[in-house]
Amino acid sequence: MSFREPLPPLCPPTDAKQQAYPAAYRLLETNPPPTNSFDSYNKLNKPPYDADPCIRAACSLFRSKKEALTAIKLPGLKGHSFIAELDIPAGAGVSKCNDKNGHIRMWMYDTFDPISAIKKVEELSA
């Protein structure tokens, strides 16, 4: 299975698993979302810095809407005015979910189109 973007060596990590998320949440800046709105930091050609390159190649989602809304307390994420709910099947890619805060780090397969997996988009009140 190949991924949506080239991944660095030893990526994804071995503890990342194929996992279905009938409801996963993604913060969006605009609606409708542009085609690159699920692209990773690496794919968006942002300047490299000293974080694990595998993390820079992942896409962030959340297990619940509440947990996603906690993330936009951070000033770097405050520009996100919309939240999308997705239905992600097990064959969409591999992921790791942080049990403490519901953050999902996902490496998507090239067969998966995240935009078509969006069930609904809600505007976040200002």
């Binding site: 990773s40 930091y41 942002k46 300047p47 962030s60 000033p75 770097g76």
Partner: protein, 336 residues
């Protein structure tokens, strides 16, 4: 004061959500926390603040949120930098001389447990003490129980650390300084004394609430050190086995000090070379024995063998054990 540009080394990404959001850096020995912000003059802008060791500890324990570090934890120095300029793991931070605008601040209630990346070097408490409660409780009762139990726990743990010759010197120094700092005159003096002893605790020993079910019957689960829980519980239950004799001894000593106005006297003003000193130390030793305070020698050494200070410390410890035991005697509490 002029604030200069300052170099800082990236130690760890704390929050990564599509991009780095919160970073931990070090500027020599100084802890710096940086937050991604939005500013069109930079490619990857961050605001950064210096954080004192005590505020950083509070943050890591979850006792304060991220906004606290950027808004209230004064004094600090604020910087800005562009992460795109990072070189060999280091950034050059420029002083930010204005007040931080709201758009650069995190909202309240973003805590350490919201970090997406694990932080090494912090051992959270894993042992749990369950307070099994029954009968009628008022809100004030919970705070009284927690406060008294916490004082007994801190006192015994501090003495254990002082007696442990392998304990870190700075920890033993905290215990020594806490005993020396107090005049032992007036209620605040004792509150400060027990509060300050908590500074000698490691992260995995600090008491924190794990869960609460405030009902009747209900339970409160508190995280902390298993061995310190065992010591505190033993002291409280032992009190119950012999409480009449202990109370009589407490009243005898308390009345003696009260009648001679020693309770109002600062311990440092007490003349330790008089007959009352010998009497006080003997009666206090009897009380300590009844309470099972095997750390008698350590208490004396820490109090510089000042009889009045030793007596006041043991009396205050008695009151905390007695108040905690009262909940058990009333049938409202069991320590599981």
């Amino acid at each position: 004061m002029t604030v200069h540009r300052r170099r800082a080394k990236l130690k760890q990404t704390l929050v990564y959500i599509d991009a780095p959001q919160v970073l931990l850096l070090k500027a020599r020995q100084v802890t710096v926390v940086a937050l991604a912000v939005r500013d069109e003059n930079f490619e990857l802008p961050f605001v950064a603040v210096t954080v004192t060791p005590s505020d950083w500890k509070k943050y890591v324990r979850g006792a304060v949120d991220l906004r606290y570090l950027f808004e209230y934890a004064q004094p600090y120095t604020v910087y800005m930098f562009d992460l795109k300029d990072i070189k060999d793991g280091e950034v050059m931070m420029t002083p930010y001389k204005k007040a931080l605008p709201e758009k650069f601040l995190p909202d309240s209630r973003f805590f350490v447990h919201h970090h997406t990346e694990d932080m090494g070097g912090f051992a959270a408490p894993t042992d749990v003490q369950t307070f099994d409660i029954d009968g009628k409780w008022e809100l004030n009762d919970f705070s009284k129980l927690y406060s008294r139990y916490s004082d007994v726990y801190s006192f015994l743990l501090a003495l254990e650390k002082y007696e442990d010759q392998t304990a870190p010197r700075d920890i033993r120094r905290i215990v020594v300084d806490t005993f020396l700092d107090q005049p032992f005159k007036g209620g605040f003096s004792y509150v400060n004394f027990f509060d300050q002893l908590t500074a000698a605790q490691n992260d995995n020993e600090r008491l924190s609430i794990k869960s609460m079910q405030y009902a009747s019957p209900g339970t409160v689960e508190v995280k902390g050190s298993g061995s310190a829980f065992a010591d505190a519980n033993h002291a409280i239950y032992s009190f119950g086995e012999n409480f009449k004799e202990i109370m009589d001894q407490y009243n005898k000593l308390h009345d003696y000090l009260s009648e001679r106005k020693y309770l109002q006297m600062r311990a440092t003003d007490f003349d330790n070379n008089t007959a009352p000193a010998a009497y006080i130390i003997n009666e206090t030793k009897s009380l300590a024995d009844l309470l099972g305070l095997r750390q008698w020698g350590a208490i004396n050494t820490l109090a510089k063998h000042n009889a009045l200070a030793v007596a006041k410390i043991v009396l205050s410890y008695y009151r905390r054990v007695e108040h905690t035991f009262a909940f058990i005697a009333e049938g409202r509490l069991e320590l599981l």
